[in-house]
């Protein structure tokens, strides 16, 4: 039984696209908007975005686990650093996320990039602070309260 099935709930898994991201216009880089009803969902959405940018829809299994460094700053800064860590883990170790668990520290389950099984889409150099937006959204217009984030990645 994989790590994800054993220890991570469906909501923590990246397998189901229950949360979404949307690509926004940017001439050179990758700019995206994430929306989620809660923080765990937002973290899962970020992991999905990074994974899709790297390997598209290639299946990723939860074979290994990583504990992320202790989080610092307010919730916007902690989220930014989480995304930055996703980029680092792939570049340094080839680690692709399959599930996310918030906690202190947050944990990731996933596996290493395997060119035989994972499509090569595009490398991410970094998540930038340019245009970074992190906001709690209020209920209204038929929309539940939640979170909205904009990110620009350097490719």
């Amino acid at each position: 039984m994989s790590l994800a099935r054993k220890r991570y709930s469906e909501a923590e898994s990246l397998a189901e696209p229950a949360v979404s991201h949307r690509l926004l216009a940017h001439t050179a880089d990758l700019r995206a908007e994430l929306e989620a009803a809660d923080l765990p969902g937002l973290y899962v959405a970020a992991a999905r975005l990074v994974r899709e940018a790297l390997v598209g829809e290639s299946p990723v299994a939860a074979r290994e686990e990583r504990a992320l460094p202790a989080q610092e700053g307010d919730e916007a800064e902690r989220f930014f650093r989480f995304v930055r860590e996703l980029v680092y883990l792939f570049d340094a170790e080839g680690f692709l996320p399959a599930a996310v668990r918030l906690g202190d520290p947050p944990r990731l389950a996933g596996e290493r990039f395997d060119p035989a099984r994972h499509v090569s889409e595009r490398q991410i150099k970094a998540v930038t602070r340019h245009g970074y937006l992190f906001e709690r959204t209020a209920a209204g217009g038929g929309r539940e309260p939640g979170f909205r984030v904009e990110l620009v990645f350097d490719l």
Partner: protein, 482 residues
């Protein structure tokens, strides 16, 4: 992203002013044709030119080249110089890919002799130079002491390791080694990212392209650079890989804190910066120079593998005859002397997607380029052309000896991918005689020729403004993409 997008005022056919408003300490100056300016209408990059003009200690205008497009912090195609005592250094003015740059090789073959075994060549190059997502070398993983020597020694260290020739170093900006590198400033995380990436291409717009000289625009300068009509060339575009990206990330955080402490108001957090004389700037300077040396060494290793690959297919004589024309950085900050208001001043020049373009007679040029001026390498897209230019006096007078660095993107990656969805870009290029090998389809689609401006128009603008002299047009024959 703050403030309104500025309106440009025309100075002449190639020069436009971004008027000084609000917190701008100086005006902006855009080099572009009227058509190129029309394409910029409403573009965020002009706001970024104005943002850079707000930084403390800026000397002269905030400059943009005709390949300007929306970046993060600085615009891509941006140049800005800062006074060492009153000014700042910003990792956002260098970019994540520290010393991303271009290297041109001349091959002792004509295009007619190349063609019969071109498919074999491009397959072999694709195998010899790891590219794409997660690209790493299985045959070279540097220990810390080895990495320290690369970070300190740059291309010279690579040559000492057997990857090249001593004479290669004369044809690299700064001799391929920036002496103020401080490997001790490069973090553990940066080392982990770069340890097995020396000699790899990466992804995105990086490439190894086999080309030929289809138009020698200046025979005298062409001869000085070792280029002849019909001659095969190889253009390599890559940088400092994950090591450089991490150096930028590490120091952005300390610069954000430094900017707050020094009361520097940032119109964009990616413009985080610190006073040039301070401890944060010294730390970044040592690490940035070390990452730049890693990039010089990276392109040197790729050159070695390109030479060997040509040798395997076309023979040892061809391998021995492959010469380095030039290697130039287009993401860097350097201390240089420039004349400002009739006075020679030492300045910290940031080039973010801009190429150094020293004119003839510049004392920093190797003796072989003193009469010609520095070769300026301007890649286009994989369907049309690239150009070789030579630095001209106009660049020294107006742009802190800087020039354009490429065609500049016209379409976002998302838009390019949408446009390519029902097409086979690789097959289309092959139909035009251009072979493409790539790790995946995404980058080929996102890098489709139509995603870029026409590099010939960009070159016409810098030539029209007197920043550089066109020397040769190069046509692509085969491309290895990440």
């Amino acid at each position: 992203m703050s403030g309104r997008i500025p309106t440009l005022e025309r100075i002449d056919g190639w020069r436009w002013r971004v008027p000084r408003t609000g917190a701008m300490r100086t005006e902006g100056r855009v080099f572009a044709s009227e058509a190129q300016v029309a394409d910029l209408a409403g573009d965020e990059s002009l706001r970024q030119v104005a943002n850079v003009a707000c930084l403390p200690g800026i000397v002269g205008p905030s400059i943009a080249m005709p390949d300007i497009h929306w970046g993060y912090g600085f615009p891509i195609g941006g140049v800005a110089a800062f006074d060492p005592s009153e000014g700042v250094i910003s990792p956002g003015g260098v970019g994540y890919d520290i010393n991303c740059g271009v290297r041109l090789l001349s091959v002792p073959l004509g295009i007619v002799d190349l063609r019969p075994r071109l498919a074999e060549l491009v397959d072999a190059l694709f195998g010899a130079v790891p590219s794409g997502v997660g690209s790493a070398r299985s045959d070279l993983r540097l220990t810390d002491p080895q990495l320290d020597r690369v970070l300190a020694g740059g291309a010279a260290r690579a040559v000492a390791m057997g990857f090249g020739r001593d004479q290669d170093l004369e044809a690299i900006e700064a001799g391929g080694r920036l002496p103020e590198a401080d490997p001790g400033r490069v973090s553990r995380r940066a080392r982990e990212r770069g340890r097995d990436q020396l000699g790899t291409l990466g992804s995105g717009n990086h490439f190894v392209e086999v080309q030929w000289v289809d138009d020698l625009l200046d025979a005298t300068l062409g001869e000085a650079f070792g280029l002849a009509p019909g001659q095969v060339t190889v253009l390599i575009h890559t940088g400092s890989r994950g090591l450089g990206h991490q150096v930028c990330d590490d120091h952005l955080d300390t610069m954000l804190a430094a900017a707050r402490r020094h009361g520097i108001e940032l119109p964009d957090p990616q413009l985080a910066c610190a006073p040039l004389g301070g401890s944060e700037a010294r730390a970044y300077w040592g690490a940035m120079n070390a990452a730049a040396n890693f990039a010089f060494a990276n392109r040197q290793l790729i050159t070695h593998h390109v030479r060997r690959t040509f040798g395997q297919i076309y023979g040892a004589g061809v391998e021995a005859g492959i010469e380095l024309v030039y290697d130039v950085a287009h993401n860097i900050a350097k201390l240089e002397e420039h004349e400002v208001g009739g006075r020679l001043r030492r300045l910290c020049v940031h080039r973010k997607g801009a190429t150094r373009a020293f004119p003839p007679g510049h004392p920093e040029l190797a003796p072989r380029f003193r009469d010609s001026g520095q070769p300026v390498l301007v890649p286009g897209d994989m369907g049309r052309a690239s150009f070789v230019l030579a630095g001209a006096p106009g660049a020294a007078a107006e742009t802190f000896a800087s020039c354009c660095h490429g065609a500049g993107r016209r379409l976002s990656r998302h838009a390019a991918k949408r446009a390519a969805a029902r097409r086979d870009i690789r097959a289309e290029l092959e139909g035009r005689g251009i072979l493409v090998r790539a790790a995946g389809r995404a980058t080929v689609d996102e890098e489709m020729p139509e995603a870029y401006k026409d590099v010939a128009e960009v070159v016409a603008a810098v030539a029209g403004a007197g920043l550089a002299v066109p020397v040769a047009r190069l046509r692509p024959a085969a491309v290895v993409k990440g």
